[in-house]
Structures are given as structure tokens and as C-alpha cells.
Symmetry: C2
Subunit: 245 residues, 2 copies
């Protein structure tokens, strides 16, 4: 499904992009472009920074530890996702990485790891998770990169919940009680909440179901791993309320 | 989301299950139960075979290389999925394993790896993929295990397509043309087709779109990796036509 991958190398840069700009390339990018991919001066790449769309650029400097590219022209505008956050409880390392990768692919605008009562993880590597979101955008043609927040307690996030944002609560215990998202609520800011292995505690469930911005949604009669549940929940939301409609 | 995992060990056995049955345990199961989990005679496990539901059983023999359990009572009936096949083009090893795992979790009834024009894989390890489907059912509380077929050419599968089965074709090129599944078609046999990296060839697309059992469906405006696309497509189908309704 990645038809353009072989055709063009796409790189994320943390630098403004505009016609004529010169963009420095990092040590890792220099190694990849000049060492692995054998590009040199005159070679072309696609650059994006999550804000200014995607731009064609030409390599102008190719050193061992650094490089530079000059921006030529914009190839695509920024494709911003809908205003959807993903809240998830970190699980085992590989599957946490996966959730972040999938959230970026599926068009989440912000990724918030949250600590629930049954969450084992005490900390996350925010920098590594952010790198996974960037890599997903590089690989999948995205022009936007969702920021990954530091780990916060779910209670604190709920206590400080922004006015007007709705929360789709993927409630394992709601299996069987089919509830669907009404498209009356399209165009509003939303968030999706995925629980950890072990689900939510009864106290957490009770609190969530009492909040007026919370909409409990079932993900079917089977038990899903958290990474599967994240993709399924984002699919339901995108199809009912987001930009898949 | 796996609340019962710590509570009970669940094992797949390729053996009939019924009250009073004695079930032999394999060398791997003996190692896991007696070596890793430190169970012994009198310990209880849950067994399922994909046909007879889930049963509580008691360990009656615990050797180094083998074991036995006696079946006590049925804890859950067989939960058969809807009549939905997943056809997918094998990709890199880890992601192919993932697609099979996700298909089992999401309730596919049969998994068919297919070779398309842009599929690199010449062969698959059917036995390893089948083991992944079993493991997904063990972990996620499933009582059904979808059979994984040997690799076949997509052309041959289409030429021999069973009468009355519809095919949801996840067409990357359909992004933007929203088509939805009409629930008039619920209750019929279906299949979902996911392409490889690189998508389908123009000839394949043309052929698929000409077939009267094919329904092209868009998975949104972003490019998805094949494993993400599989979960998203199964979600759309389950929500519109399957047992999530």
C-alpha cells in the first residue's frame, strides 16, 4: 500500500520549509542518504516538517556527519487530520510503539499516554514514541506528525478536560450493548480512550460513565489487544465523524 | 483489555472436548504449564479446540515432556465469527504475522494469503501463521481459530470464486470517493481483500472492479500499512455487516 516508497525518499525535518530555503540535515539523515541510499549532491528528496506541507529539495551538501538540501517547490499542501486525540494506557514496549505508529497513520492529531489504575508502566520514553510517530509519517506519506505528550495520570487529564471536547470511551464492558456515534457530533473536537490490558477499574469506569462529555462505544463481542483496539476505535471514529466520511 | 489473562491459563488443543474426556498435552504445553507456570496435578486450565467451546479442565498428569488434563465442564459455548474471509498479500515477516494475529482477533472466519503482481513473497510458512492465529485466540479469549490457507495466486482465487460470496476490495485509489457498505448485504458470505506494499497493478484493479461480486471501499485519505489496513477494513465490515452491529 506504499506505492511511492521506492520512488522517493521522504524525510522529516524540524526546520521551516519554503522555496529557496536551505535545510540542514542531521547526522542520522546524512548517514542514511549518503551512506545507505548512496545519494550525493544534485540528488532529490522530499521534505516535510509537519506544518508546511511536503517539498521537493535538492542535496547541496553531503558530508559524513552532516548535509544540506535546498528547497525547490511544494509538492503537497499540509494535510491536517481532524481534531482528534488518542488517549491510551502504555503496555508492553513493542505494542506501545505500535499504538503510536498506528495513531499517526490513522490520523490522530495528538497522542496522550495516560496512566490508569491497571497500567503497569510508570514512565514512557516520550522521545522514542515521538520518533515512531515521525517514522510513520515518513513511511506513509503523511505531512503532519501528531505530537506525543508525556505520561499523565488519567484522573488528572479528566479533571482538566477542555470544555467542548468529547471523549469516545472504548468500554470492554459495553460489548453487546451496541452504541453508535451520531454524526450530529461531527466537526467537534474529540478524543478516543483505549484501556490497558486488564481494562479499567470499576471506579474508573463509573467515573468515566458519569462524565457528560463521555460517549461509551463498544468494539464488538471479542476481546481485543490494546493496539488492535486503537486502530478499530480510530476507524469507527474516522468513518462516523472524521475525514473518511 | 485482557482482564482474564492472569486469572486463567487458556490453551488450544487439537482434540475433542466433552465432559469426562481425557486430553493429552503436548511437549510445549507441558513445558509451559509445569515448567514455566509451575502448575501440577489438580491445577486447572481452560481448553478450547475451535469447535466445542471453552472447557474447564484439571491437570491429571504432569511429566517433563507430556501431560494430560481431564475435562470438567463447559465454561463458554463456541462463539463462531460471521462468514467473513480475509484475503491479504504477504508482506515482511513480522507484519504478515501481525495481519494473521489481527484477523483472528477481529473475527475473520478464514485467512487466505494471496500472491498479487506486486507481492514479493513466493512462499509462506503456513504452519507458523496458523500458530499465530491459535496464539491470538488463546490470548484474546477466542473459542474459534480461523484456518490459514496455503499461498495461492489472486488470479486463481478469483477465477474459482464461490457463487454468492461478496468481496470488499480495499482500493487505495478509491480514496476520496467515499463508498459505504449497505446493510442490505448483511447476512451474506463476504471476503475482504487487502493489497501488498505497492498496491495493486492497473490490470488487477481493472479486473477486480469489473467483477460483479466486488465492492470497492475506501479506507480514508491516508496511506495505510497493510497491517493497519487489515484491522481498519475488518472494523468497517464488522460494524456495517458483521457482529459488531
Amino acid at each position: 500500500m506504499l506505492s511511492f516508497m521506492s520512488a522517493k525518499i521522504r524525510l522529516y525535518v524540524d526546520h521551516p520549509l519554503g522555496e529557496g530555503q536551505t535545510v540542514p540535515l542531521s547526522r542520522e539523515q546524512a548517514h542514511y542518504l549518503f551512506g545507505v541510499m548512496r545519494l550525493g549532491p544534485g540528488g532529490q528528496v522530499l521534505l516535510f516538517n509537519g506544518r508546511d506541507g511536503e517539498w521537493r529539495a535538492e542535496i547541496t551538501g553531503a558530508g559524513k556527519r552532516e548535509g544540506a538540501a535546498q528547497v525547490l517547490e511544494r509538492t503537497r499542501p499540509l494535510q491536517a487530520p481532524p481534531d482528534l486525540w488518542l488517549l491510551f494506557a502504555p503496555i508492553k514496549k513493542a505494542r506501545t510503539d505500535f499504538i503510536v505508529e498506528k495513531a499517526a497513520e490513522m490520523g490522530a492529531a495528538r497522542i496522550l499516554p495516560v496512566q490508569t489504575e491497571f497500567t503497569n508502566a510508570e514512565r514512557i520514553r516520550q522521545d522514542r514514541l515521538q520518533a515512531h510517530a515521525i517514522e510513520a509519517a515518513e513511511q506513509c506519506g503523511g505531512t503532519f506528525v501528531p505530537p506525543v505528550a508525556e505520561l499523565q495520570k488519567l484522573d488528572a487529564v479528566l479533571a482538566d478536560w477542555p470544555a467542548g471536547r468529547r471523549l469516545m470511551f472504548c468500554d470492554e464492558a459495553a460489548a453487546g450493548q451496541a452504541r453508535t456515534l451520531s454524526d450530529v457530533l461531527a466537526g467537534e473536537p474529540w478524543a478516543v480512550l483505549i484501556g490497558p490490558e486488564g481494562g479499567f477499574s470499576p471506579a474508573e469506569r463509573g467515573r468515566l460513565l458519569d462524565l457528560d462529555f463521555v460517549h461509551a462505544v463498544s468494539l464488538g463481542p471479542r476481546i481485543l489487544r490494546a493496539d488492535t483496539a486503537a486502530v478499530a476505535a480510530l476507524t469507527l471514529w474516522q468513518q462516523a465523524l472524521g475525514d473518511w466520511r
